[in-house]
Symmetry: C2
Subunit: 211 residues, 2 copies
Amino acid sequence: MNNKGILTVVSGFSGAGKGTVMKKLMENYDNYALSISMTTRAPRTGETHGKEYFFSTREEFEQKIEAGQLLEYACYCDNYYGTPREYVEEQLAAGKDVILEIEIQGALKIKQQCPDCLLLFVTPPSAKELEKRLVGRGTETMEVISKRLSRATEESEGIEAYDYIVINDDLEACVKELHSIVQNAHNTVERRAEFIKEIREELKQFSKGAK
Amino acid sequence: MNNKGILTVVSGFSGAGKGTVMKKLMENYDNYALSISMTTRAPRTGETHGKEYFFSTREEFEQKIEAGQLLEYACYCDNYYGTPREYVEEQLAAGKDVILEIEIQGALKIKQQCPDCLLLFVTPPSAKELEKRLVGRGTETMEVISKRLSRATEESEGIEAYDYIVINDDLEACVKELHSIVQNAHNTVERRAEFIKEIREELKQFSKGAK
């Protein structure tokens, strides 16, 4: 059997409900590990090192960049954010399917580093529904909503780089679908190479024996 | 939504239980159509034209070959067997997911004709289990079992041409997995091209409107 986990990168429009989908996925199934980002920004109240983020100094972060220990990184508002390679690789080696939630630029960098990762794009069933969800939150000004919509328009240009579209219409159905995409990926011929080799060898022995 | 069906080619070792898996798949889900082969051999008692096979004369069959109306064909024991293109295309256009059970040479020809088809290979969990099933039938001589095992050894050389391995250990689990592979395939970015185009256009309209 193939015991190595699969790295799945999840992106999607702001308002697509990615956060809720991830939370539900972790609740419903126990074979997943969420990748934890590293950042140089200060922890906020209630945030724990190794849970929300790995917090690090600027020096430590830059050393990791130099040493190739980050799968990707970016700088926002003077702070670094990145994906530590070691944590992801440890979880994969332990057989966990690792989920990494990140925007498209990061997703493309991850794909370069890990060509056999899966890229999933979560989207509401329509742009109308996306707008409804953004407006429906009731917490955003029209200016923010407008910015998010034009951000989504930009993001939609990159969807072809992904492997699968996951439509979040019904939460449970969406989580089930995401799970089944990752689980099926374990059975591609590439990921089953070892099983194929074994059964082939075994068959050779048997057909010799039967002659 | 993507309403066109997906063509799935199913192969597997003799003794892997493909027949039972196909039957159960048809029973459990109503979105599938089984491809029907055309043959020049005479109908056996109880066989109906358009059910087990499309029966045809040699002339008719050869005309179809000439006209490119067969997705693949082969000649066994002086009789032609082939896959009529029209029936498959009609079912796909009607939104049915078409299942075509065929051995590897045929599968490779189908893939050439229909590059976006899915190739699945059904196998028991081990060669030991395959031998057990072949012996367990109790209807075959050791000579026949030995021939099947060396046939399986040959077939195992071609597995890398397939997209997915489907292990038939537990029948219900196997059918469910096969179903989920085909259903997930509807959500690849390639097959969702129309949805992506639509949501992109719609987003452009909205973000213009929101400005």
